[in-house]
């Protein structure tokens, strides 16, 4: 292999890894938008909560109480982050979003997501302080080499987790009664109600799935973030860009856009320097908004989820 080719493949591999991290976060955003027609500004904080839940599960519980090896503790922490995200989503929907939706107002639930975001950030700030936590994944230390291409075991874990999440989500939507009902609610909430489907239950389920994905995303992102109570915010900006580039509410578009942004980011680091990442991503976003405002995959909204 020539040096150039090696470099291209190496950066593409790095890009896919980054892209998978973003996809884990962006999928939830797009899912909530697709079903509720609402932007969730608190999504970033579900990522942060997931990251901290994973950190404490791995360091305080997995290794110390259960006596697991570091790798086992990290895998366990991913499960804990999934659970923490799901539970938090369930609780916040029941306490805040559902009662506001009941009143039939569209703006208030949206503003409430900002309120929930501020609340979660400050609660974590009070509990954990502003100093960044160190969260190492044991899989980051293990390097795998194929020919002249290098990657860590962590990146394999991330890609596998993202692939599993995507396959599980598609299988759920396509083959289960509840998944089909969820698509029905996304397409026409009132008519879904006329079918005997309780739309509120499916909306709750959507929020739980999205939050669980964000939680796992947090566990996977923890080792690469500067882990403070505001850590999620650094990823969410990019996740929003991905969701818009992919077409709001469109799962397939979000996945493609996530991988695309990851790869573009890897090459930006290589050729332009890491300081320009956000610039490049947001120039891409602006170009998309001008050239193709419906997103990569332009379908009618109801066909997305």
């Amino acid at each position: 292999m020539t040096d150039l080719l090696t470099l291209l493949v190496q950066q593409s591999v790095n890009g896919v890894y980054l892209g998978c991290l973003y996809v884990m976060v962006a999928l939830g955003l797009t899912l909530i938008y697709g079903v509720l027609n609402q932007i969730n500004f608190a999504h970033a904080d579900f990522v942060t909560v997931g990251a901290f839940a994973a950190l404490f599960t791995a360091t305080r519980f997995g290794t110390k109480v259960l006596g697991l090896p570091d790798t086992g503790a990290y895998l366990l922490s991913m499960v804990a982050a999934l659970g923490a995200g799901a539970l938090l989503g369930l609780a916040i929907n029941a306490a805040v979003f559902a009662p506001l939706r009941e009143r039939g107002d569209e703006l208030r639930p949206l503003i409430a997501t900002i309120g929930v975001s501020v609340l979660l950030e400050n609660f974590q700030l009070w509990l954990l302080g502003p100093i960044p936590y160190q969260f190492d994944s044991p899989f980051s230390l293990e390097t795998i080499r194929i020919g002249r291409i290098f990657f860590t075991a962590q990146s394999v874990l991330v890609v596998v987790a993202a692939a599993l999440a995507i396959v599980a989500l598609y299988a759920f939507m396509k083959f289960t009664f509840l998944g089909k009902a969820l698509r029905a609610v996304a397409q026409d909430r009132e008519t879904a109600g006329l079918m005997g489907i309780n739309p509120n239950l499916l909306i709750a389920l959507t929020i739980v799935i999205a939050s669980a994905l964000a939680g796992v995303g947090g566990a996977l992102l923890g080792p690469v973030l500067v882990l403070t109570p505001f850590a999620g915010a650094t990823v969410i900006v990019k996740a929003f860009a991905i969701v818009i580039i992919g077409g709001f509410g469109n799962m397939q578009g979000t996945i493609i856009a996530g991988l695309l942004v990851g790869v573009i980011e890897a090459f930006t680091v290589q050729y332009l320097g890491s300081g320009l990442i956000d610039l490049v991503v947001f120039v891409l976003l602006l170009v998309m908004l001008v050239v193709r405002p419906t997103g990569l995959i332009a379908e009618r909204k109801e066909e997305n989820v």
Binding site: G193, L194, M195, E302
Partner: protein, 239 residues
Amino acid sequence: MSVLLQVENLELAYGEVPVCRDLSFQVEEGEIVTLIGANGAGKSTTMRAVAGAMLPRRGRIIFDGQEVTQLPAHRRLLAGIALVPEGRRVFPALTVRENLEMGGFKFRGERQKLDAQMARMLEMFPLLRERAAQPAGTLSGGEQQMLALSRALMSAPRLLCMDEPSLGLAPLVVQDIFQSIRAANAAGTSILLVEQNARYALDTASRGYVMQTGAIIASGPCAILKQDGRVKEAYLGRR
């Protein structure tokens, strides 16, 4: 015959805008009853209130002896009321089969019952069998109306509410639809029919109510309504 649906002094409004006042009517077990009236008379709103898609300001809705006035739509379906909404409202990105499955959502735990209902519907509407794997959004208007009707019948309702089934469809297709409505009735489903085409409606139903600007102005057996001067003049064309 016993009363299946009893609507008493219903008052309906969108926000502050009143649509219907003091509506009372009933559907007896096994009947086809029609609400006719001009555009904007409040027929569709009344149907939505019966199916639970909107809650009334005042009045009572009693179904099969139980008060359902405040029940949301998904609970009314469980009670036995199904609505074929105006404009059909099939789920465009779901396949025909998936649309039917949604209609039978209440049987999701009883696979055999669901399969039996599905088989019945595909037999009743062979065209849907051919299109089973196609997204519903790709069907023609008439096919979508067939799908919306069979989707509602999937739940084996005791009362089927049909809102403007003929809207935007060719006369031949409309005849097919009304044929199917009569077939569903013959199989034991009571029917409440809202229809702009008064001639079709009065030919199909046994009793009717005439609505004008949110109130019922006449009612009776269809044979008599057809002779009513006001009905003739307003809805059947002068003769």
